[in-house]
């Protein structure tokens, strides 16, 4: 009767086997890579905001410091989106008839808050506290990037747990020089608008070991309940 398989079936068989193998191994590999892409982490996506607020203008051109508007960053868990009256503090005087500022005036006079779109969003089970990071000497830019160069703000860092741990395991790498040394080149400071570090913040000298940092500063760098409660 003879075989049922023609000669080419060998080739086809192997092609199929290799393809199946690739799919089997490739799918998880692809997914693991995919979750690290900006598509999933939400990086580099400038969000349209109800007000065309331009950080470049305010930070670079006007030299306004982060903490002027995000004033809660050193006191509270949240850095705080400025309330409308903070905007109007200046804009009642300048550009007070600009159409771009219509939503701000609208909010101020109607009492309805401006509905900003969230750029940096952590899951609900993560309790991030701005004040402890800022006061420990973490530069705003470490997490938020060069906001002063962004027209519309976007997320720069991955904000995954692994990314958090990078710093929590080795905080000294991400801390600036001690308070008495100039933190940043003037130009850089000017661009980023970051100038949060003054003498009143406690800065961890990079020479300390983990143990010494534990002892003297933040004792729980990587314990779960530092962030998950």
């Amino acid at each position: 009767m003879g075989g049922v398989f023609p000669r080419w079936s060998n080739t086809v068989f192997w092609i199929v086997v290799v393809c199946l193998g690739l799919i089997l191994l490739g799918t998880p590999a692809f997914l693991m890579i995919y979750v690290r892409t900006p598509q999933i982490t939400g990086q580099f996506k400038p969000l349209k905001q109800p007000v065309e607020f331009d950080h470049r203008h305010h930070v670079r051109d006007d030299g306004i410091q982060c903490l002027y508007c995000h004033s809660l960053a050193e006191k509270s868990a949240t850095a705080g989106i400025p309330s409308t009256d903070v905007c109007m503090g200046c804009h009642s005087q300048i550009w007070n008839e600009s159409t771009l500022l219509e939503p701000v005036r609208d909010s101020f006079f109607s009492g309805r808050p401006i509905r900003w779109n969230r750029v940096h969003d952590l899951p609900d089970f993560v309790f991030f506290n701005h004040s402890i990071h800022v006061s420990s000497g973490i530069d705003c830019r470490n997490c938020h990037g060069m906001v002063g160069t962004m027209a519309r703000v976007y997320q720069v860092e991955k904000l995954t747990m692994g990314w958090c741990l990078d710093c929590h395991r080795n905080p000294e790498q991400f801390l600036g020089p001690a308070a008495d040394q100039p933190a940043l080149g003037d130009e850089e400071a000017q661009i980023s608008g970051v100038n949060v570090r003054g003498a009143k913040w406690r800065v961890i000298p990079p020479s300390l070991t983990h143990g010494e940092i534990d002892e003297a500063f933040v004792p729980r760098r990587i314990t779960c309940s530092a962030c998950h409660r």
Partner: protein, 176 residues
């Protein structure tokens, strides 16, 4: 061994006799097909011991070592945590997974090694085009002489096969 002759034998004793006879005649590119394993045939054809066991051993050791290394590296080095007061590196707790992975890798080595050494999977082979060869998986017993055997000769070999009791001799491969 793309072409050559395929000779059908009546029973296992005939097959064993034919194989050892052909080997005695100096043929080396011999192969036989049977529906069940015939150990004496391997001896008759002078086939050496398989070294698949060594591959399997290597697979097992590799699996176990990888498993232990990963357990140690992940829980004692990458992210050591205080779990129930236990030390981060706790060899006793790593044993089961190490063992299981050793067995798993060894089994993979055994299965895929056996296929690989048998040159499988191969859906098509010249012999499968031979009529009635399909009985080889049921009750047929066949001896094959490869066309690349230095002693191979289209006329003489067929005759020699008939002489050792082949019920039928068929040409494999080429243009039949």
């Amino acid at each position: 061994m793309r072409d050559g002759f395929l000779a059908e034998l009546a029973d296992r004793h005939a097959l064993i006799a034919a194989a050892s006879h052909m080997r005695a005649l100096g043929y080396r590119q011999l192969d036989a097909f049977s529906p069940y394993p015939i150990i004496e045939l391997e001896e008759a054809m002078g086939i050496r011991r398989s070294w698949l066991p060594w591959l399997i051993l290597a697979g097992g050791i590799a699996g176990a070592a990888t498993a232990y290394f990963f357990q140690w590296f992940l829980v004692a080095v990458l992210y050591p945590l205080n779990v129930g007061g236990r030390p981060a590196h706790m060899p006793a707790a790593f044993v089961p997974i190490t063992f299981e992975m050793g067995v798993l890798f060894a089994s993979f080595a055994a299965f895929f090694g056996a296929l690989f050494f048998s040159r499988l999977p191969r859906l098509w082979d010249p012999v499968s085009d031979v009529d009635t060869f399909d009985r080889a998986s049921l009750d047929g017993l066949w001896l094959r002489v490869g066309g690349d055997d230095p002693k191979f000769s289209a006329a003489r070999t067929a005759q020699e096969l008939r002489d050792v009791g082949a019920l039928a001799v068929r040409r494999v491969g080429g243009r039949a």
